[in-house]
């Protein structure tokens, strides 16, 4: 007897088989080396790779980015548990750009399950009331339909106290057990202005996996954000920059706060991707202090000159 997940996996595999040609680079990359599919250097070893895609819909841009990185199979092996951490902070609909877009999350869920993931879990510790935020962001429905398990991020029992020996300010934290236990960890934020941190992208999004955010705010916000990376870095960072919120962030007041850029960034190097994100919002990377601090702690590359940037325009 098949359960729902198996059914969806099978369905996806079947669909993928029929549409192999259309998927272009993604599946081609798995079978044969294309011009842009090269081995991914680990952070610190050789050049970091940053894929930047423009002018497509979110699904197409994600497919292109993953193809360039060698396909989803590079990141997700059969039988692995996957955590996707979007930004689900605010009780606002997708068009307001306050949360990661549900289309992007759902597509990634399907890719993971298609690659044989044992389970795909999703949560965020929301800022607004969580049930409303999960619902109105559109992520709960889209992710569930794609086959993910959507977890309440506001359950204190799900968080475990861990030591963060590499941290300067953040030395211990109660971290969601999915972050600590999942085999694969995708960090999938949305790019936004932030009234306190200047910008919220990949590094800042990881505040949503920690129980006590007040501690960050009281004890040097930027340093604690950087400190967390010494505990665990995401397997891959995927940044939704389709229509970044360029002011009134991170909550925003209306769609007028958004500027359409139709972009998506992906990188294993969280500092490099945030450095590029800062430039998209018109800042120098070092202006965003947590990016500068993380670079100083050798957690990634802030100087984009030293990053292998692969640029794609889909239109």
């Amino acid at each position: 007897m098949k359960n729902r997940r198996e059914f969806i996996q099978a369905g996806f595999a079947l669909g993928a088989a029929f549409s192999l040609a259309d998927l272009g680079g993604l599946f081609a990359a798995e079978t044969s080396a294309t011009d842009d599919a090269s081995p991914i250097p680990a952070p610190g070893a050789g050049k970091s790779v940053l894929v930047a895609v423009r002018d497509g819909d979110r699904v197409a841009m994600l497919d292109r980015a993953l193809a360039s990185l060698g396909g989803i199979g590079v990141f997700v092996k059969r039988g692995q548990t996957v955590l996707i951490k979007p930004n689900i902070g605010w009780d606002a609909p997708p068009e307001r750009g306050a949360n990661t877009h549900p289309d992007l999350v759902a597509h990634l869920v399907k890719l993971c399950l298609g690659a044989g993931a044992k389970s795909v879990s999703i949560f965020d510790k929301t800022c607004d009331q969580w049930q409303r935020t999960y619902a109105n962001s559109g992520i709960e429905k889209a992710a569930k339909e794609a086959g993910a398990i959507v977890i309440n991020g506001n359950d204190p029992n799900a968080y475990r106290e861990v030591a963060i020996p590499g941290g300067l300010e953040l030395k211990t934290a109660r971290v969601h057990s999915l972050v600590l236990d999942s085999d694969v960890f995708f960090n999938v934020p949305v790019l936004k202005h932030h009234s306190g941190a200047l910008m919220t992208a990949c590094m800042k999004n990881l505040m949503g996996v920690v129980w006590d955010r007040g501690f960050y705010h009281r004890n040097d916000l930027h340093q604690t954000i950087a400190d967390f990376l010494t505990l665990r870095q995401p397997t891959l960072n995927i940044l939704d920059a389709y229509h970044p919120m360029v002011r009134n962030g991170p909550r925003g007041t209306s769609v007028e706060d958004l500027v359409e850029m139709r972009s998506l960034l992906a990188s294993k190097d969280i500092v490099a991707i945030d450095a590029a994100a800062a430039k998209m919002l018109g800042h120098q990377p070092a202006d965003v202090r947590h990016v500068k601090l993380a670079a100083g702690m050798k957690l990634g590359t802030i100087n984009l000159e030293n990053v292998d940037i692969r640029r794609f325009k889909l239109a």
Partner: protein
């Protein structure tokens, strides 16, 4: 025992109301549609009268209850009133627990002075401008609501939480942990004592509470005494077997005289089915009484003279309607007054500031306290649980009524559930756009306490959470951002106060408005692109 169709009808109706209202009040996951609670609360006697008297809604439920009582007796008390039904449930549980059929004490004399005292006390309270307190303390529906919200809801939440681990292990993510919200001891004492009283009286003497304390019971009893159709004993059929006495919750059947005190009968119809001889039935009473000169000569042994009862009742009806109407509608002209546009200094008047903040739609604290009966349906419906029962924050008149408490939650910008459920218009249902501009208070920022100033590091948790950007940041020091408040954009939702991480005293707090104001609607122009379009800026 014969089956009485009337009793079946009564039990069915009572079940619908009881289950519906209990789930609405106990709903810790916002699963019950707001319409269920709003509607079942709206057909309750006191909320309906308050809504009608204040013009909040053309609610005829109260009038219809009086009409129904005049027709067939106190059917409200056994079919619609949740506190009454709760007593039946408790009595039933107690008889189950004792594994025997419940036997109530036989006929007892009414406690007329107590009954009249509570009714007149309520009338006096309403007439002297204390409607907010007296109705809140004595309305049976509101008492029921507070018991469920204060006592049962948190227990149910804890029960839910105890099975979360098991459910999740079984792969059910639809069951999840919910924080149990206990009100403070002070706010729990009244519902707890009331529950103890109700339960004890229900086990001991059925509906003694309804026929002694409850002013609604006494008022409706006065009408029931004059009902067109009344339950009467067919003295020819009666074998004086006392089967009816054993099942009577109100001890209102007097077999010695062969009469039923219909002012105390809650129309439960137990006696009809209990009588093997069909000796108790509805009879049209008006034709007979109309034919006689004085109702007192009907031959009942009524405990108090008819004349006094008549005067009492008439005066009561007048006082309740007039008192409620006058007192409550006196506040009305101020109620719909939404805007203080352009004079945003209004909020800075220190006299207008209050620690107790009432929900958007309440208009002003005075109006709110007059109308709210503290049923706490909104407390249960509030998804963020920012609504807490007040103790003395509003003063005595605000006892147990909802206030916004920002230490652990804030008012969700997109939500207006409190207005959706409120049965009597104490919290008007505002259009969402209106609610988002309704200024229930305003934020006060103390930069001397702010982390950005004190520690010289970024924070801005307050402005991060602000839905209107009344709290925003300005450049400060070396690449820092310092919060700043634009008062006329602030609606007082408390997101900033909730989010402020400063301990022990927050650097930004909301002061409530005694009269709600109106915030300025921010002008929205399209944001400028930070980088040239068309290519990557790196």
């Amino acid at each position: 025992m014969r089956r009485s169709r009337l009793k079946l009808l009564r039990v069915a109706a009572a079940l619908v109301v009881f289950v519906g209202l209990t789930s609405a009040f106990a709903d810790f996951r916002n699963l019950v549609p707001t319409a269920v609670g709003h509607w079942l609360a709206g057909i309750q006697f006191v909320p309906s009268l308050v809504a009608l008297a204040t013009g909040a809604a053309f609610s005829l439920a109260g009038v219809m209850i009086v009409a129904a009582t005049l027709a067939v007796g106190r059917v409200y008390c056994s079919m619609v009133c949740p506190l009454g039904i709760l007593q039946d449930v408790i009595a039933r549980f107690s008889s189950w627990a004792h594994r025997r059929e419940k036997k109530f004490v036989p006929f007892a004399r009414p406690m007329t002075w107590l009954r009249q005292g509570f009714l007149w006390g309520t009338v006096a309270g309403v007439a002297t401008g204390w409607s907010g307190l007296t109705l809140a303390l004595l309305d049976p529906y509101s008492n029921f609501g507070r018991m469920i919200v204060g006592l049962f809801r948190p227990l149910l939440t804890l029960a839910n939480n105890s099975v979360v681990g098991l459910a999740n292990a079984a792969g059910l993510s639809s069951i999840y942990r919910v924080e149990a919200h206990w009100a403070g001891v002070g706010a729990l004492i009244i519902p707890a004592l009331m529950f103890a009283l109700i339960a004890a009286l229900a086990v001991w003497r059925g509906r003694l509470y309804c026929n002694t304390v409850c002013p609604v019971g006494t008022l409706l009893g006065w009408f029931a005494q004059r009902a067109a159709f009344r339950l009467e004993i067919d003295r020819g059929a009666c074998h004086k077997c006392v089967a009816c006495l054993n099942v009577c919750k109100s001890q209102c059947i007097n077999l010695r005289t062969g009469t039923i005190d219909f002012s105390r009968c809650v129309a439960c119809f137990n006696c009809i089915g209990a009588c093997e001889h069909g000796g108790i039935n509805y009879r049209l009473a008006w034709r007979r009484t109309a034919g006689r000169a004085a109702p007192a000569t009907v031959g009942r042994t009524l405990p108090d003279p008819q004349r006094r009862a008549f005067l009492t009742g008439t005066a009561t009806a007048l006082a309740v309607s007039l008192g409620a109407g006058l007192r409550l509608s006196a506040q009305d002209p101020t109620a719909p007054e939404p805007a203080r546009s352009g004079q945003n200094d209004g909020g800075t008047d220190p006299d207008d500031h209050t620690k107790a903040i009432c929900p958007p739609g309440a208009s002003s604290i005075d109006r709110f306290l007059d109308r709210c009966t503290a049923c706490q349906l909104c407390l249960s419906a509030c998804p963020t649980q920012v609504l807490k029962p007040a103790l003395l924050e509003y003063g005595l008149a605000g006892l147990l009524k909802p206030r916004l408490e920002y230490s652990a939650a804030f008012c969700n910008f997109e939500c207006r559930r409190c207005g959706e459920v409120c049965p009597d218009g104490a919290i008007s249902l505002l259009e969402l756009a209106d609610k988002q501009l309704t200024q229930i208070g305003e934020a006060h920022f103390d930069r001397k306490k702010c982390i950005v100033v004190v520690k010289g590091t970024d924070c801005a948790a307050c402005s991060e959470h602000c839905p209107t950007k009344a709290v925003h940041t300005i450049p400060y020091g070396d690449n820092l951002r310092l919060p700043e408040v634009t008062r006329d954009l602030c609606i007082g939702c408390g997101a900033c106060e909730y989010a402020c991480p400063v301990q022990p005293e927050k650097a930004i707090v909301v002061a409530g408005h005694r009269r709600h104001g109106r915030a300025r609607k921010p002008v929205e122009t399209k944001a400028a692109a930070p980088t040239p379009a068309g290519d990557f800026p790196f």
